[in-house]
Structure formats: structure tokens, C-alpha cells
């Protein structure tokens, strides 16, 4: 704890030393393949069009909420733009750490003239969040498990069927999504999920369902773990982000297949830190206008298998820049992959995260 506070304080201090020069923009993202896709699709074209601007990347998105709060308390925000997942953006927005955005004024309209807010539609989950992509959490499974006698899972509920599909499963060490999946496989209808979870015994019911496979689960905290475990044969199926599975299956050609059933949609996008000075704010908004237009969002899908958040971008998704693979079938938003799906209920989770988390962790520790 002390170390953590110290690290926060000192990293804020260190960052303030290297405060952005006149034409520098500091972007915070996740690193890895995802950040690379943003570099190719947004940053490089933007810098080509604006030679005076230099974009600096900081790979701290997974700690962005805490760091931004520490910077905010220290009164010295050095980031210009932060890539955040939907729920994090909700927290940042509630905490007053992210700036509220007037979408129609700030973002480019669709090619057909439709206002940005209409084109982005449901992905505008709160007033601070500028969406880029739709990603989903879904399951991958090994296609070569001898003990399955040639059967392959075709429904989400295979994860609870340890008779037909024996072997270890990899699930995220968080209540979110696991609870919903457990209830779905316990016979709860999609539209009743949160009513059930809100009731006193709803959570017990979900945990009871998870209890049936508790001994077969290896829990993950980082998105890279499930693909690695699948590749090692350490688990036979597991949840992770669809882009990770894409690279295991298509790029690394491992004997792994994808199960789109009941994928959970999430959004990832930008937030602008609150309280930026005028000049920096203007530069950031100029970039945002450029980077979130219809073509640019569609371009990102050339580099990674996540779907663009704008409706008007969908038809423009083409092939993978290096592999030449048609990307549309690998998009979570592809109708073929969308027979059953959930959308991350950010509002409900914002309210219930803490209560669910403590129950879930207590259950895990039992």
C-alpha cells in the first residue's frame, strides 16, 4: 500500500518533469498489438497530415484510473488522451477525472451526414467516452482434446458440462460476465439477468452454478493468460478477448477454435482528462475529430480483429494488413457471430461492482 502510493506519487512527479513540449501529445494506451493498431490507423496518418505534432505513447492504460486520480490530486495532469474500457470511463467520468464531450460538435458526422451521436449510437455509454472499437469477451477451446471423443462445444454452457467436456477451464477472476454466464446456463433469460442478480438469492444462484466447476477453473487476471494456457494445453477452454483468440488461431495457427455463443460486448475508447489547458485541449480535440471518423475507425480493423464502434464504419472493414485475411468474419459485430450476445451492463455494474466483488472474492477464498 505504502509502496503503491509512493509509486503513484513518484510516477506523477516523474511525468511532470517530462511535461509535454509545445507540439507534443501524450497518449495512454494498452501497449502491444492494440496500441500498434492505433499507431498505424490513427497516429501515423495524423502526424503525416500535421507534421508539427509529435505523439508520445505511454503504456499505462491498465492503471490509468488510479494514475489519473493521483495526477489529478497532485494538480498536474500530463496525459492528453487516455484509452479506456467502458467501465473505467464510467468511473473516471463519475469521479470528475474525465472531461464531458459534446459528441456532435466534437466528432465528425457520418459520410451520409448523420450526426456523430446517431452514428455511434449505443456505444456512447456516458458523456465522457468517445468509442473506438467493440470488442467481446468470449470463449476459445482446444480442438484436439482426446477425452471429448470428437465432440466440440457449440454452446456457452459447455463450460459447465464437465462430463462431456472434461478438463480445466480458464475464467477471469472477476464476478462480471461469469455471473451472467452462470445464470444464463442456469436457465435465466437474457432480459431477466439483472433482475435476478438484483434479488437476494440471485447472486447465490449464480455462485452455486459456478460452484459446480470451481475445482476445474484456473482463474486469470491478464488477458494474455487464457491464450497462453490454451496453447500450452494447460486448459481446454477459457474466456478471453476475441482479438487475443484471433491471434492464437489465425496468426499462431494453434489447434484452438472460437465459441461466439453469448459473447459479451464491451467498448473501448478515448477519454480526455478533465482540466486540460486550452491549447492542449484544442490539439487533442483536433486529433479526436480526425481519428474517430468513419474511415479511420474502419482502418483499425486492418490491424486487429476488433469491430469499429461506428455503424457507418462497418461496411468499410476490409482485409488484415499483413495476413490478407478477410476480417469481417472475425468481427464480434458480424451478424453470424451475434446470434446470442450480451452487452456489458456498465450502469448496473457501476452500482454493484463493489458488493459483487466482495461476495465473489469471499466465495473464491472459501
Amino acid at each position: 500500500m505504502t509502496l503503491k502510493t509512493f509509486l503513484l506519487a513518484s510516477s506523477a512527479a516523474a511525468l511532470s518533469v517530462g511535461a509535454a513540449a509545445a507540439e507534443d501529445l501524450t497518449f495512454v494506451s494498452w501497449g502491444g498489438a492494440y496500441q500498434a493498431s492505433q499507431l498505424k490507423a490513427y497516429a501515423e496518418p495524423y502526424m503525416a497530415a500535421n507534421p508539427g505534432v509529435n505523439i508520445i505513447w505511454d503504456e499505462s492504460s491498465n492503471e490509468a484510473v488510479a494514475k489519473l486520480r493521483a495526477m489529478n490530486e497532485a494538480g498536474n495532469v500530463t496525459w492528453d488522451l487516455v484509452d479506456a474500457e467502458g467501465p473505467d470511463s464510467q468511473r473516471l467520468c463519475d469521479e470528475g477525472l474525465a472531461m464531458e464531450v459534446d459528441f456532435d460538435a466534437a466528432l465528425a458526422p457520418a459520410p451520409d451526414g448523420a450526426a456523430a451521436s446517431a452514428d455511434f449510437g449505443d456505444s456512447l455509454i456516458n458523456s465522457c467516452f468517445i468509442p473506438q472499437i467493440v470488442f467481446s469477451t468470449t470463449f476459445g477451446y482446444r480442438s484436439d482434446v482426446a477425452a471429448w471423443n470428437g465432440k466440440e462445444p457449440d454452446s456457452l454452457c459447455a463450460i459447465f458440462d464437465t462430463e462431456t467436456f472434461p478438463g480445466k477451464r480458464s475464467l477471469e477472476k472477476r464476478p462480471k460476465k461469469n455471473l451472467e454466464w452462470a445464470l444464463l446456463c442456469d436457465g435465466v433469460a437474457k432480459e431477466d439477468l439483472y433482475t435476478v442478480l438484483d434479488s437476494d438469492d440471485g447472486l447465490d444462484r449464480a455462485l452455486a452454478k459456478l460452484d459446480t466447476i470451481k475445482d476445474d477453473v484456473i482463474w486469470w487476471t491478464a488477458g494474455a493468460e487464457t491464450p497462453q494456457r490454451l496453447a500450452d494445453g494447460e486448459v481446454v477452454m477459457g474466456s478471453t478477448y476475441n482479438g487475443r483468440l484471433f491471434s492464437v488461431i489465425v496468426e499462431q495457427k494453434q489447434p484452438v477454435k472460437m465459441l461466439w455463443d453469448w459473447q459479451v460486448f464491451d467498448f473501448d475508447g478515448w477519454i480526455v482528462p478533465a482540466g486540460l489547458p486550452e491549447d492542449r485541449l484544442n490539439r487533442v480535440m483536433d486529433f479526436l475529430h480526425f481519428a474517430t471518423d468513419t474511415q479511420r475507425l474502419a482502418d483499425q480493423a486492418k490491424y486487429i480483429s476488433y469491430g469499429p464502434a461506428r455503424a457507418s464504419s462497418q461496411p468499410l472493414v476490409s482485409t488484415h494488413a499483413d495476413l490478407g485475411v478477410e476480417m469481417a468474419p472475425h468481427m464480434p459485430t458480424n451478424p453470424a457471430n451475434q446470434k446470442n450476445y450480451l452487452v456489458n451492463n456498465i450502469e448496473w455494474w457501476a452500482d454493484n461492482q463493489d458488493a459483487m466483488e466482495s461476495r465473489f472474492q469471499a466465495w473464491l477464498a472459501q
Binding site: F6, V65, R69, K168, G233, D354, A362
Partner: protein
Amino acid sequence: MSDITRNDGPTGPMLAADGTPLKRSLARSLRRQKLRALMLIAPLLVFVLVTFIAPIADMLFRSVENQIVSETLPETVLALRDWDAKAGSLPEEPVFAALAADLQAAVAAKTHTRLGSRLNYENSGISSLFRKSGRDVGKWDMTTDGPFREKFIEIDKGWGDIGVWQTIKTYSPRYTPGYFLNAVDLAKGVDGIEARAANERIYITLFLRTLWMSLTITASCLILGYPVAWLLANLRASSANVLMILVLLPFWTSLLVRTSAWKVLLQQQGVINDLLVWIGLVGDANRLVMINNQFGTILAMTHVLLPFMILPLYSVMKTIPPSYLRAAKSLGATDWTAFWRVYFPQSVPGIGAGSILVFIIAIGYYITPELVGGTKGVFISNRIAFHISSSLNWGLGAALGAILLVAVLLLYWAYDKIVGIDNVKLG
């Protein structure tokens, strides 16, 4: 000396040659020296103050600080003073009017959602209650739109829930023991302190687990490290140097790399299991589970912390001359008696130093347990990290950290009482 004392006779204070009292004269001559010494340590002092004392003080403050409620809702908190939280009825209109006024100011300052997040830690649902209400309340006209009680309940029936009001009233003081109560699986309710439901209790379990696992890790570091330190202290210099490099080697490798290496070794499809299956010691269907549990955490952390045990042990053993063991043997002691009665007691300061070091590092560790601990091998620090970086409940994180700090200090005190802290030597 005799010159000085002769000047003033037997009764008066000692005087220096120039007649000033000797004490003052001495103090003056030492002042410059002290000042210079202070200047030398000033950078360290400032460093320690800024990087160590200040964060701890800040943490302690955060663990009780709760000004956000009374600052965001000053009128409401005042109006709620007269409301009887146990009576079972909703507050009256003046409280709602005060809330409307407070919320309007808060919406303008965009602080209402922040308060919602804060109170949501105590009562799920308050976050969206404030967020939702903020949109409408901002548009109200305070003079004409009253009465507000029904209007609030109209926006969200949450305002008609006595529990919400009880939470606001309970957490309206500027300082609260609430975080500390949460940290030990209690809760602050209307009727005072109450235990949490059994299926929500986690922190006591985690504290106890952290303690006993840290003790186990310390013990296994000691058992493994003692012979190594002994070898280091007694081998010829050239061989000892090679061994020392081996001991220090882990320090030159990233912690993440080392921990990931354990994954590769220990997992069910990992190197060790493959080997055991290959030599037929373990059936392919019964591969050992050695990771994502307490065993994995203890093993990996013992490896990570071993040098912290070996180095203090080594530096103490280095100072024990071999002639003590020889003397003991010449006096008729067997190898074991000589070791146990003569060598071991003299290495106790090193054991103390190494154990304290390893234990204190272990108790606050979170990276390794996070990666290899599974569900039963995680520490309290993993929860602290979660509250700091994910749930943003810094107050609870701070309270957990403060309890950990007190636990360490208590153990340190106990150690001092039992073994004596001056009996600890780092070299």
C-alpha cells in the same frame, strides 16, 4: 583541567579559560560540528521524509478521512441531524429541500457523481442514484419547484429507501472508522458496529492467510538459506564467489520473468509434471497441481526472497571464527552438539535479521501471489492493489494497509520482547 578548575574554586560551575561556563563553551564548539553533520544527512532526511514518512502519513489520513459527504452536501448533513435514523420513517421535506440545494451546487461543480461513487462503497446503487438525479436536479428552480420529497422519489425510488438515508447519515461525519471496520469484516450501521454477512467476510481470512503464508515462506527461506549461507561463509574464496553469484543471480532477472518461469515449470503441462510422467512417477491423468494455489505462492516467493535471507545470514556467519566449532569438538562435543550449542546461537542475529527482512517483504508482496497464487494463494496486498488501482476505494485500501503496518509493528515489538532487537545483525 587543573588550570580550569583553579580559576573558580571548588563550588562554582566549571569555567573555561576565558571565564565563560565550560558547558556553554563546549556547546558552542560542538555546534558547528553538529551543523555540518546535519547538512550531510539533510538530503537523506528530506528523501526519507518525502518518499516514506509523507506517504505513510497520507495513507493513515486517508483511512479515516471522509470529508466528501459534508463538503458536497453541507445543508443536507445539517438537516439530517434531527432525523432519527432508527425510527423507520423517511426524512421530512426540509431534508429533501436541503438535498436539492446541495445537489444543484454539486452538479454545477460536477462533484455529485463523485460523492455517489464514495457512498456506493457502503451501499450499492447510490452511484447511479446520484448520477441519475444530477441530470434532473440541475434543471430545478429552487424557489418554485418545491416541495422536493415527492419529486426526488419520482426521479428514483431509491430516495424513498430509508437505507440510503441511513448511509448518508452514518457517513456524514468528517472522519469515519468505516474503512477500518470494513477492513476487518465489520460494518458501521445505524445501531453501531455490526458483523458482515458470513458470505461477505474476506479480509480477516486474508490477513490470517497472509500472516501464516509469510511465516511459512520465512521458515522455508531459513531452512533452505541456512546451509547455503554456511557454505558461502566457509568455502574457499574462489568457490564462495561463484556461489555468491548464483545467490545474487535472481536479482539480475526481472521478477516477472522469474515468476513466469515458475509457471512454465510448475503448471500441469509444465516441465516438472512432464518429467514426472515421463519417468512414470505420476500418471498422465494425475498430474500434480503445483501452481495457482498456496504451494505455488510459497515456492515462488521462497525463491524470490531467498537472497534476502542468505545475505544477512552470510554476513553474520562470516564473523564466526571456525575455531569455535573446533574448540567445541576438542571439548568433546559431537558435530551436531557443536553446531547446535555453539555455532547456531551465534548465528541467531543473522537469522533474526534475515527472517525480519523476508517476513516484512513477504507480508506486503503482491506481484508473485497475483501471478501464481490462484484463489487460495493470494495475499491481503492483492486486495489492497485492487482497491488502489481498480475499485478506486483508496480509503479501504489505506485502512487495509494501515492494519498491515500495525501488524508488522506488533510483530516487530514481539520479536524485540522475545529475542531482542539489538540481537539482530545485518553484517
